[in-house]
Symmetry: C2
Subunit: 194 residues, 2 copies
């Protein structure tokens, strides 16, 4: 297992990305190893070579990959929420991203189906949310030093999660638009102090 030649690393990467796309499109329950094999032009033995513990192992890598992507796609705004203009740019980015992917939400799928089952996946998801919330809280402190930053950040992450959940459930983007917009507007008007 130690030592991954460049070729091997590339294959592994191809598997993770291919699997991630399949899962996003069809849901984890409807994607088998044979689908992944076909989509990534690999063989059964390769799948188990790079992920010795099988499917669970692979889903772990997929979850880590997707979680990373979620944060990356919010950059550079997320790590620089130092003005209202940046806040609005961030909001627009988030909304645009969800509007584009519509129901194909990587986190909803992985969270609901695997979060409870596998503690390792759960750790990845919660770690991602923690980082996300820290970025947001930093932003709150930058524009509203008087506010309870953690509380506001909790509210904002919750609003996004709710918007995403409702988007998956009803294919309606307005829950996200309204929830996020109102939460930011509320902060702007003057947030609850500590």
């Amino acid at each position: 297992m130690r030592a991954l030649t460049p070729k091997g690393a590339a294959t592994r990467q191809r598997i993770v990305e291919g699997a991630a796309k399949l899962i996003r499109d069809h849901g984890p329950a409807n994607v088998g190893l044979d689908d992944i094999r076909a989509a990534t032009a690999t063989s059964k033995s390769q799948l188990f070579h790079y992920f010795p513990d099988g499917k669970a192992d692979m889903l772990l890598a997929v979850a880590a990959h997707e979680a990373e992507l979620v944060l990356e796609e919010q950059q550079p705004y997320l790590s620089d929420l130092t003005s209202w203009a940046q806040w609005e740019a961030w909001r627009d980015r988030v909304i645009a991203r969800y509007a584009a992917q519509r129901r194909r939400c990587p986190l909803s799928a992985l969270t609901a189906q695997l979060g409870l089952a596998d503690p390792a996946v759960e750790k990845i998801i919660t770690g991602m949310y923690t980082r996300w919330q820290r970025y947001v809280a930093d932003g709150v402190r930058a524009v509203r030093p008087d506010a309870d930053a953690e509380r506001v950040a909790t509210q904002l992450i919750g609003a996004i999660a709710g918007g995403a959940t409702m988007l998956v459930a009803t294919d309606d983007i307005r829950y996200l638009e309204i929830g996020l917009t109102e939460a930011i507007e509320n902060l702007r008007r003057g947030a609850p102090g500590p």
Copy 2:
């Protein structure tokens, strides 16, 4: 097919409730017909007698049952949000319910895994959300005739959905507490007019 004797109706009901509980506890992916058979003291033939189209048919009935329960458990407050006291009682009820069930959220499981796949399940879920939102919007009109009731209701439902999603993902009730409390507080302070 029509014509269900009292005994038959009771068996059917037992199956639905037993299956619902199993799915809540272990997630739809980890519950097989044999589990349901064992938990409800029935036989394979009974399962297919009452749900001729098999598992999908059964999950449909389970989804309808769970959706109904979600609304029922918010009564009598939900349909009478005519004072701030009622609003707070409703909020407390919602939070208490989720705090009690913790990660065993019937909707998260069904929504994420089946919502996208089966249009009939989706119809049940969206119908439930529509009714829910109508109740809330009626409540908004009762206490804040000047507000954009639909917009506020969208925000509130989104906040609850987000709280529930984060509860499942992180086992932390605060997203729901804070999200719902802030949204109501925001409405109370004076909501966005039309």
